[in-house]
């Protein structure tokens, strides 16, 4: 039997295990393996090597499995509540920002009128408006979002260190 046939058989054997082969190749391989004792043995060893992997069976420790499950579940719950808190903070900040700008628009006219009554220059009026109205409002709006960084908080609601 030509040497190429054995090489082809081994190539097809590996390929059939790894990714599958065409029906035509399968017929050729089966016929060859039946005729050739050496390739037949090689096919048996290959099949044994794959079956050998099934020997590896781990014994599960139910307590360890439960520990993992509980840890993951509690982390999921903590993340969900943190995300809900973050979402409500974001909504609160958005509302506060909207009110800040809407309030600014409303407040600007009376302030400008007051400035004209007191004969204040418009630049001074603008600076006073920004410093005493707009900036405090913006700070208050953003404070909840950055409170951890600003206030140096480093613990979550459960009192655990993050």
């Amino acid at each position: 039997m030509p040497l190429e046939n054995h090489e082809k058989a081994r190539f097809l054997l590996h390929r059939s295990l790894v990714e599958g082969i065409s029906l035509e190749d399968r017929h050729w391989l089966d016929a060859h393996v039946e005729q050739c004792a050496e390739c037949g043995r090689y096919a048996d060893v290959s099949a044994c090597a794959v079956r050998a992997l099934d020997c590896f069976v781990l014994e599960l420790d139910p307590a360890a499995a439960l520990r993992v499950e509980n840890a993951v579940r509690s982390r999921a719950e903590a993340m969900r509540s943190a995300e809900a808190r973050g979402k409500s903070l974001l909504i609160g900040t958005s509302v506060a920002l909207f009110l800040t700008f809407a309030g600014s628009a409303v407040m600007w006219r009376p302030l400008a009128w007051l400035a004209s009554q007191w004969s204040l220059p418009s630049q001074v009026c603008q600076i006073v408006f920004v410093v005493f109205w707009l900036l405090p409002s913006l700070l208050l709006a953003f404070l909840p979002l950055f409170r951890r960084r600003l206030l140096g908080e480093d613990s979550d609601n459960n009192g655990q260190t993050v």
Partner: protein
């Protein structure tokens, strides 16, 4: 009618989509069931990587926590298993790298402190622990002798039954590389078993 349609759409929804949705919603009940469902397979995969049962158990938990952190990256279009195993793989590799660095440092320390003669850590390989028969012992030795990347490729192909493309996704390698790893792993396993193994 709407309830029926909703129920039907839930039933018809692929499992991967359900998993993706539950992970994003942090549904702890569903996630708990998922942890149970994949615990054995994940543990086995990590044991194949680390060869240490205790480390693999720690890494299982870390993998799930990482899954929760990166839940937004899983869109449910592909199967869940390759994504899960790729996270576990990255953690295992990081862990092995840290371990190697620590071992190197330890060696340097030992060279510096000649008087200190620490014994090598002894452990029972999980491959041997899993082996019950004489044949299984030989197989355990053969598995233990394989490099992790070959063990991984064999496990994912023949036990997890992932496709070559999915294994490539897990390993971050080309399909052709994965194919040759499986072939090489099989050849090495055959050589280690000496061709005389009876079906275990």
């Amino acid at each position: 009618m709407v309830a029926v349609v909703t129920a039907f759409s839930r039933v018809a929804e692929p499992e991967s989509q359900c998993i993706s949705r539950a992970l994003r919603r942090r549904d702890s009940e569903f996630i708990g069931r998922l942890v149970q469902q994949y615990h054995y397979r994940l543990l086995r995969y990590l044991v194949f990587w680390t060869s240490r049962r205790e480390q693999a158990e720690d890494l299982v938990q870390e993998t799930w926590l990482r899954v929760l952190e990166h839940a937004g990256r899983y869109n449910g279009r592909l199967r869940f298993e390759p994504w899960l195993f790729s996270i576990a793989r990255n953690l295992a590799i990081d862990h092995l790298r840290k371990q190697q660095t620590a071992t190197q440092k330890h060696r340097t320390c030992r060279e510096d402190e000649e008087g200190l003669n620490l014994p090598a850590p002894e452990f029972e390989s999980p491959f041997f622990a899993a082996a019950r028969s004489e044949d299984a012992q030989r197989i355990a030795a053969a598995l233990g002798a394989l490099e992790p990347i070959y063990r991984e490729a064999l496990l994912l192909r023949f036990q997890e039954e992932l496709s070559l493309a999915e294994i490539a996704q897990v390993a971050g390698a080309q399909v052709s590389t994965v194919s040759s790893r499986i072939q090489r792993g099989l050849s090495m396993l055959q050589a280690s078993l000496g061709g005389g193994v009876d079906a275990a």
